[in-house]
């Protein structure tokens, strides 16, 4: 299940120079650009064995750890439902 700690670790792999717990707007604060978001989606897909749909790759879903966690939870739930 998605946890803030795991998501923070994934973010740190992509941009190790930032403290992601200190911002509520990663994109506005220049911590993630659009290509970092794509890298992040690929990492989240692999980490949680999910497929985040392209239509969900929107800036608002990657603003902060809580938003990313919510996105991951939604697709982990969908994945588990599909497996049942």
């Amino acid at each position: 299940m998605a946890s803030e700690r795991t998501i923070e670790q994934v973010l740190k792999q992509i941009r190790p120079e930032f403290d992601f717990t200190a911002s509520q707007d990663f994109i506005g604060d220049g911590m993630l650009d659009s290509y970092d978001v794509i890298t992040l989606v690929a990492e989240l897909d692999n980490t949680y064995a999910i497929l985040i749909p392209g239509i969900d790759i929107l800036p608002e879903n990657f603003q902060n750890i809580a938003a990313i966690e919510q996105l991951v939870r939604k697709h982990v739930s969908n994945h588990e439902l599909r497996l049942q």
Binding site: I14, S34, L51, P53, G54, I55, I57, L58
Partner: protein, 355 residues
């Protein structure tokens, strides 16, 4: 907008790519990003090698090279060509049209219809629409559709968002009438309100090129480009493709009364591997039916990427077999289009290096 055609065929295809090849590692020295971050992007997007013109090579140079190859190989005779469409965003000149340049350089007959179309990643589809329509005229028996771009000359080498994916190339597609009444279905949408998502701001009459438009500016994400350079709003383009293309294809298949399973290949424009994989996931199309391997070998050459996807992946099969192909192009304009058509056997389907 929907279209239905019949008694039309693609009879041959040739792709021309520059022999000059650069690797992502070659390019990285120009990017202002940590190496590890760039390599991660390479892995996700499928960047590796790309083919770029070396020096002041123009669109007509690639096109004429390919046409001369066809003439020399006896695959096309100059006098057979009744129409020449050239789809490009990188013309030799603002005027005259590049199609006129090519006609003149090749010494083609005067009894010919030549026309330029300013289109990009949907340009193969737009060109096919025009070729199919012109074949309604009895005086037109053979149309040569040339898609060509040398856009690397308009991309900043310090722009990590665009430079690693860009590729230069030309394709020559022969379009003719056929005795086969099988219907060919197509659809097209355009949205000029989103025109700034992909653009070269300077160089036209709205903002003529000047010393000021050549100054490199940081975009805030460490990419440096000038107003003379191509700029792409990556987020907007990605979202556009993911939102618009699945329903476009669903509408096309509905129009044709066909199922996804009946389609042998989904031969789409090749922006990058990640975008195509996300499209395949959304459409529930097996990855092996939607090739996404063009960017890693050649780069994204706008309207030429579908012909390259066909030549790279299917040239042997199309020499003897027929497939049901779903084509789709999407990009500048914004423009998005798709077509469901039988493809093959082709008289020729090949790829050559421009020297």
């Amino acid at each position: 907008m929907n279209f239905v055609f019949s008694n039309r065929q693609i009879s041959g295809m040739l792709a021309v790519v520059p022999a000059n090849e650069r690797s992502f590692e070659d390019d990285m020295a120009n990017f202002h990003f940590p190496v590890a971050r760039s390599l991660k992007l390479k892995q996700v997007m499928g960047y590796d090698k790309h083919r770029l013109v070396d020096g002041p090579v123009c669109a007509s140079d690639l096109a004429c090279f390919g046409m001369m190859h066809l003439f020399h190989e006896g695959l096309l005779h100059p006098d057979e060509i009744d129409a020449l469409y050239v789809v490009t965003q990188s013309p030799d000149y603002l005027m005259p049209p590049t199609s006129s340049v090519i006609q003149g350089r090749l010494g083609l007959k005067q009894d010919i219809f030549c026309m330029d179309i300013n289109q990009g990643c949907a340009g193969f589809l737009i060109g096919l629409f025009q070729a199919f329509l012109l074949l309604d005229q009895q005086s037109v028996r053979k149309v040569v559709l040339i898609n060509v771009d040398v856009l690397s000359r308009k991309v900043s080498t310090s722009d990590r968002n665009s430079y690693p994916l860009i590729g230069d190339a030309a394709s020559i597609t022969i379009v003719e009438r056929s005795g086969d009444p099988t219907l060919i279905y197509a659809n097209l949408k355009m949205d000029g309100t989103r025109r700034e998502a992909l653009m070269i701001p300077a160089g036209g009459f709205r903002m003529p090129s000047s010393p000021e438009t050549a100054i490199l500016e940081d975009d805030g994400d460490n990419n440096r480009r000038a107003k003379d350079h191509l700029r792409m709003d990556g987020s907007a383009v990605f979202n556009f493709v993911q939102v618009e293309i699945p329903p476009l294809i669903a509408d096309l298949l509905h129009l044709a009364g066909a199922t996804q399973e009946e389609v042998d290949y989904f031969l789409f424009h090749q922006p990058n591997r990640f975008m195509l994989q996300k499209l395949a996931e959304a459409m529930k199309v097996p990855l092996e039916k939607m090739p996404s391997n063009v960017v890693e070998h050649y780069g994204n050459s706008s309207g030429v990427s579908i012909p390259i996807a066909i030549a790279h992946n299917l040239r042997d099969r199309l020499a003897t077999s027929r497939i049901l192909a779903c084509l789709s192009g999407f990009g500048v304009g914004l423009t998005w289009a798709s077509m469901l058509l039988p493809l093959g056997p082709l008289k020729f389907c090949d790829m050559i290096d421009f020297q």
